[in-house]
Symmetry: C2
Subunit: 387 residues, 2 copies
């Protein structure tokens, strides 16, 4: 049915009407008191969301642009860095490191497995002359639905004492708690089309005071992605380059909604959405790609058994119910499907998706579950989580 699309991909995610309509307002000049007030409010609320009192900068870029900025502003060519790689996005940061001539040591794990924090500990402890300048990793690996153990890896980075920690939190920021100041995370990159409940087009980078010290001697070239320019201007509630003003109208509205819901409630909702989804998918007899202990609050990846074609599941979910699920990426293309449940998503959406999935599985001749088992499991879980 036309205009009935339900986005359950890891991004773009659904956007509330209030945000869409805010974005549909006529633009205003960006060098005005009126825009400065909106920008100031957004910046304050971004700090709230990041649990930080330091910089959170907004750039007109995708999440990749935000993370690249977070890497290149604080390093110089030849710097030794550790890069975690257990999926498409970990791979991407290794590519960025290569593109800028960093001396990157890649710490790999299989796609679907979390990064091994012990490998980080070993490398960091062995580095007694403090040559490691940064540890770069993905928090929620969007390609696999794995949540890496940021807290533990960060603890090892803190024990090292010198290295910065740079985190791709594109699908975790706003979906699970990242206490940026308490943990001392140096760089946190995120993007508007995820838990922010916005369309794509804005990237965010939180920067610690320690990272700003590194900035002073960092030599990788940059101009549009030069965070120093953004920070200097943000102090005056403005931007170095023309900001996407309508995106800020939307951001103001979405952050107001998040504040009204409350930070703990936002995180609890994402935890519940994740657990409901996983409980139901298990009850349908479908294997989850990531273990419960390393499950992303934003994305659940499902790897159907051989007799069930993941691609057909997605196609039929779209055709019959206008529900968009995501394909796998790279070597997982056609092998897994991914259910996004981040941002403007409520319990009802999960019920709708699971019910639809039951119908589709049946139509595809898959008999690995008792009819109604998915929804029964979801209903039981939701009832218990209310008590």
């Amino acid at each position: 049915m036309d205009n009935k699309l339900m986005l359950m991909i890891p991004g773009p995610t659904p956007v509330p009407e209030a945000v869409l309509l805010a974005m549909a307002k006529h633009p205003m000049g960006h060098r005005t008191k009126e825009f400065e007030a909106i920008f100031a409010e957004c910046t304050q609320d971004l700090k709230w969301l990041h649990q930080t009192s330091h910089d959170v900068l907004s750039l007109a870029v995708s999440g990749t642009g935000a993370m690249e900025a977070g890497i290149i502003n604080f390093l110089s060519a030849g710097d030794r860095v550790l890069v975690g790689d257990n999926g498409k996005f970990g791979e991407r940061w290794a590519e960025v490191a290569l593109a800028y001539g960093l001396n990157a040591e890649i710490i790999k794990a299989e796609w679907g497995q979390p990064l091994d924090s012990e490998q980080f500990r070993e490398k960091l402890e062995a580095d007694t002359d403090k040559q490691i300048k940064a540890v770069i990793l993905v928090h929620s690996e969007t390609s696999t639905g794995v949540l890496n153990d940021l807290e533990t890896i960060n603890r090892h980075v803190k024990a090292h004492g010198e290295a910065l920690i740079m985190v791709d939190a594109v699908t975790s920021l706003g979906a699970t708690s990242i206490p940026v100041d308490e943990w001392g995370i140096d760089v946190v990159a995120s993007g508007s089309q995820k838990a922010y409940m916005m369309p794509p087009g804005l990237g965010f980078v939180a920067v610690s005071p320690k990272a700003w010290v590194a900035y002073k001697t960092a030599k990788l070239p940059r101009y549009y992605l030069d965070l120093g320019k953004y920070s200097k201007n943000a102090a005056k509630n403005t931007t170095p380059f023309t900001p996407p003003v309508n995106m800020f109208f939307g951001l103001q509205a979405s952050l107001q909604m998040m504040k009204a819901e409350g930070l703990e409630n936002v995180f609890a909702r994402h935890k519940r959405l994740k657990e409901t989804t996983r409980t139901a998918v298990k009850a349908l007899g479908l294997p989850l790609f990531a273990a419960d202990s390393a499950a992303s609050p934003a994305i659940t990846a499902v790897m159907p058994p051989a007799q069930l074609d993941a691609q057909k599941v997605r196609t039929l979910m779209k055709k019959r119910f206008d529900i968009a699920l995501a394909d796998g990426q790279d070597h997982l293309k056609g092998k897994i499907f991914r259910i996004g449940h981040l941002g403007f998503v409520c319990d009802r959406d999960i019920l709708a998706a699971i019910s639809a999935l039951e119908v589709v599985l049946r139509e595809l001749g898959y008999e690995g579950f008792t009819p109604g088992a998915g929804i029964a499991a979801a209903a039981k879980f939701l009832a218990e989580s209310q008590s």
Copy 2:
């Protein structure tokens, strides 16, 4: 009055309702046939607007990001380049050249004066061993309202034979004809919030086949701004990173409007808006900052005589009539005001602005004109341009 703002700054410019409402639609997945179709249509129409059969790439960046991409993808550190600098934006490309370690020779002209094409000719003719890799210049210098003589400078670059020409067309593309293929312009950068009749948030870069040859050996580091990635993906009607899908909904609508109007009509309208504005401002006895022979089709900068405070003119235009005019930049702050007349602007808007300006000038006690002279001149000009 609330929500009555009339944008007559050089950007953001006014946006048609059809574009705003298109942008207010729910997002869709960017890795879908549906989005590919929109992207393909936009790309085709961008080529039409650029009068090129070659690449026109779309990036989630401001105009600065687009121009930086256009520079850094085709050069290596130490490369000799000529940079034209006769305003804020020429200065900016010199800064980018510096940030990336290019060997930049700056060809300056006073703010308000056009670049001297002869200086380019001399440098290029003297370069017999073809060390100059690129000539970088602004077409319409937004800070001063000067249109540089791109056609003549380009002819000298073509006579050189080796150097690429890289053009900041942020406020000229769509306002005046730039026959990219016919002239052989290698890089043309522009931004959505100008003649495109869109909010800010998308940047565009046209790239010639000759520039792609240079790309193969160019060594400046880049990843998010790597145009090769965009070109490779555009061939499959997609993007390397999550595109701002709602901006593409808007772009589709705005390009459809431009096509319905017709390219020659769009350019003729901008020419008429410029000439009406200049004719009327002259009739009000106010000095224009740029000469008629080098006047931008997008922006008219006015430098009031000493007894008239430019800042007060702007403030009163906003307060009394909700018309936003732009301040001068840097050393011209408070000394000039700039009237933007690009994008979704019609004759009526110019009449409204000139009438309002007459009232404001009178309220400020300025007596350099016969009451009604501005509108009389505008009316005469418009009547004659119809015949």
